[in-house]
C-alpha cells in the first residue's frame, strides 16, 4: 500500500478577483518508508502540495489518500502525519521536553509512556540533558532537532519536512543531511521532503518529484533525474546543463561546424549534455563521438575542477568541467580554438 497518494490534486486561490492555480493537477504515489523529495524553485507549488498532505490546505479538486484512506477533507489534527516546519515553529513558551511531549499529551497517551517515548526520542536526536532548555536558548541546529523529535515521537505514518535545513549554515546543513538520512533509516518512517536545493534532494532522496509552475515535470530517482532529465526545465534546474538545439538528419545534428550524434532522431531536436561529460581537446577527435569546434571564452579555476566557457560558431555557449585529477594545468587558455567531444549516450534528447 502507498503511504501517500495524490490523485490529480488542484489548489486554486482567489487573488484580486482572479483565480490563480498554485497546484495544477499533481498525481503521485509515495511508498511506505520512502525518502521522497518535492524539488523546485520558489512558487512552484511544492509547499502548497505538502500543506495539502498535512491538511492545512484543502484541495480545490482531487483526492489525498493516506495509507489508502481518503483524507481530503480531514483536518490536520486528525491526520496521522506530522510536519517539521521551515522555521521549526517550536512553542516558545515551552521547554524542550514539553515541546516534544505536546503531541502525545494531546492524544491522551499515558504519562509513563510519554516519559519513555520522549526520553527515547531525545536520545535519537542527541538532546539528552537539554530537556529544560527553552527554544530561544538553543542553536539553530538544536532547534531543528527538537522540531524533528517533536514530530517523530508521535510515530506518524509519514513525516513532512518543509525546507527544514534552510536556516542552517552550509557545514551544519551537510551534517544534518546525513543525520536526517540516518534517523529516517532508524525509524523507518516515510519522509516527504520539500526543498529548492537540488544537492539536498539528490543526496538524500530515494525518489524526487521536480516541480515547476504547479506541475510535476519529472518523477524519478536522483540518478535518473540528473542523467536523463525529462524536460528542458529539469535539465536547467538540476545541476549545470548545456542545451543544443537544431534540425537533425539521419541521426546527426549539425551544430556550429560540428556534429552531435542523436541516433534514430530526425527533424527538430533539443539535446542536453552535462558539462562533466565533455572532453576538451585541441585536436579534432576521431571515432563515433559527438564533436563540436569552438573558441574558449573563459576559464575558471574552481579547485577540484576547471570550468570552461566555450563559444560555438553558431553563437551558443557550452560549459565544460575538467577534473583536476592529475595536475591543475589547463588544456586550453582563453582565445584558443578547441574541440569538444562526448560519447553518444551522454547526449540526452528531451521534450520541449
Amino acid at each position: 500500500m502507498h503511504a501517500i497518494q495524490l490523485d490529480d490534486v488542484v489548489k486554486e486561490y482567489q487573488s484580486h478577483g482572479e483565480v490563480v492555480q498554485a497546484v495544477k493537477g499533481v498525481t503521485l504515489e509515495i511508498a511506505e518508508g520512502e525518502f521522497f523529495s518535492l524539488l523546485g524553485p520558489s512558487g512552484c507549488g511544492k509547499t502548497t502540495t505538502m500543506r495539502m498532505i498535512a491538511g492545512f490546505e484543502e484541495p480545490s479538486r482531487g483526492v489525498v489518500k493516506l495509507l489508502g484512506k481518503d483524507v481530503t477533507n480531514v483536518p490536520p489534527n486528525k491526520r496521522d502525519v506530522n510536519m517539521v516546519f521551515q522555521s521549526y515553529a517550536l512553542f516558545p513558551h515551552m521547554n524542550v521536553w514539553d515541546n516534544v511531549a505536546f503531541g502525545l499529551k494531546q492524544r491522551g497517551v499515558a504519562q509513563a509512556e510519554i516519559r519513555q517515548r520522549v526520553t527515547e526520542m531525545l536520545e535519537i536526536v542527541d538532546l539528552t540533558g537539554r530537556e529544560k532548555r527553552r527554544p530561544r536558548e538553543m542553536s539553530g541546529g538544536q532547534q531543528q532537532r527538537v522540531a524533528l523529535a517533536r514530530a517523530l515521537v508521535n510515530r506518524p505514518r509519514a513525516l513532512l519536512l518543509d525546507e527544514p535545513l534552510g536556516a542552517l549554515d552550509l557545514k551544519l546543513r551537510q551534517a544534518m543531511q546525513i543525520e536526517l538520512k540516518r534517523i529516517q533509516r532508524e525509524v523507518g518512517i516515510t519522509f516527504v521532503y520539500v526543498t529548492h536545493d537540488q544537492n539536498e534532494a539528490l543526496t538524500m532522496s530515494d525518489r524526487i518529484a521536480v516541480m515547476n509552475d504547479g506541475l510535476v515535470e519529472q518523477l524519478a530517482g536522483p540518478r535518473e533525474i540528473y542523467e536523463r532529465p525529462a524536460t528542458q526545465f529539469v535539465a536547467g534546474f538540476i545541476g549545470t546543463s548545456n542545451l543544443l538545439a537544431g534540425t537533425a538528419a539521419a541521426g546527426v545534428l549539425p551544430i556550429g561546424g560540428g556534429r552531435v550524434l542523436v541516433p534514430g532522431q530526425d527533424g527538430d531536436v533539443s539535446v542536453t549534455v552535462r558539462p562533466e561529460k565533455i572532453t576538451i581537446d585541441t585536436a579534432e577527435p576521431n571515432g563515433q563521438v559527438s564533436a563540436v569546434p569552438g573558441t574558449v571564452a573563459e576559464v575558471v579555476y574552481l579547485g577540484t575542477y576547471n570550468s570552461y566557457a566555450v563559444a560555438l560558431a553558431d553563437g551558443a555557449e557550452v560549459t565544460v568541467f575538467q577534473q583536476n585529477a592529475h595536475d591543475s594545468t589547463t588544456t586550453a587558455e582563453r582565445g584558443d580554438s578547441v574541440w569538444l567531444s562526448w560519447q553518444p549516450q551522454h547526449s540526452y534528447v528531451i521534450g520541449s
Binding site: 498535512a54 491538511g55 492545512f56 483536518p75 490536520p76 489534527n77 486528525k78 506530522n82 510536519m83 516546519f85 521551515q86 522555521s87 515553529a89 517550536l90 512553542f91 516558545p92 513558551h93 515551552m94 521547554n95 514539553d98 505536546f102 503531541g103 494531546q106 492524544r107 517533536r150 514530530a151 508521535n154
Partner: protein, 285 residues
Amino acid sequence: MKGRLTPYLLALPSWLWLGIFLVVPLAAMASVSTTTGNNIDGFVQTFAFSNYTDALSRYSTQLARSFAYGAMATVAMLVIGYPVAYFIAFKGGARKSTYLFLLLLPFFVSFVLRTISWGFLLADDGILLGTLKGWGLLPAGFHVLATTFSVVAGLTYNWLPFMILPIYVALERVDPRVIEAAQDLYATRLAAFRRVVLPLSLPGVFAGVLMTFVPATADPVNAQILGGTSNTMIGNVIQTEYLTNLAYPSASALSFTLMAVLLVGIFIYAKALGTENVLEAAANR
C-alpha cells in the same frame, strides 16, 4: 570619559522633567498630607499622621468601592477586549490598520465629552432608554444612570482600547505556524488556543490589566457624570476635598493612600503573575 557619560546626558532632560513635575509635587503633597490647619489661617507641619487614619476611616467605603469598580471594569474589558484583539490580529488581514484606527478614533473627542454623551444615552428619558420606553420595550420605571452598572460601563468604555492594544500586540507576535504546529500535533482548535495562543498572549493581558485597572480605579469623571450619590469613587472624594472643601491635608493623605495601595497591588500582581511565571504555569498545565 565623554563616551561613558553620553547615555546619562541624553537621559538628563527626562530626569529633569520627572524631577520637576513628579518628584517635587509628590514631595510637596507628602509634606502637606501631615499638616494641620485650615485654608484661612494656613497649614502648619505637625506630622499629623492621624490625617491618614482619619481620612481612611471616613472614606473607606469609597476606597473599597473604587477598587471594586476598577476590578469589575477590568474584567469586563478583558472579556470584551480579548476577542476584539484576537479578531484584529488573526482575522484583520489587510484591514488591520483600519480596525486599529477605528479603535483609536474615540480619542479624537475629549474624554469628558464622551462620558457626557454616555450620560445622554443612558438618561432615563434620553435617546436610547426614552425611545425604547416609548416603544414599550422597557418599563417606564427602568433606569440605568446613577447605578453601579452605568459607572462600570463608562469605565469599561473609556479604557477599553488600553486593554485591546497590548493584547493585540502580543497576539500579533504569535507566529501562525506555531498554531498550525499545534494542530498538526493533534490539538483541536480550542486546545491549540488554550495551550499555545492564550499562554503566548498572557504578557499582553498582563500589560492590559495594568494599564486599565490603575486609571479605572482612580478615575473621578465616570462616577461624577454617570454615577449617583451612592456611586462615589475615591477620585471624586479627593477632587471634592481639594477643590471644594479645600481640605488639602486630607486630600493629600487620601491620594497617597490610593497610590500606595495601587503600588503594593501592582507589585504583588507582578510578583505572582510575572511574565515568566505565567508562561511556566501555562506550559506545565
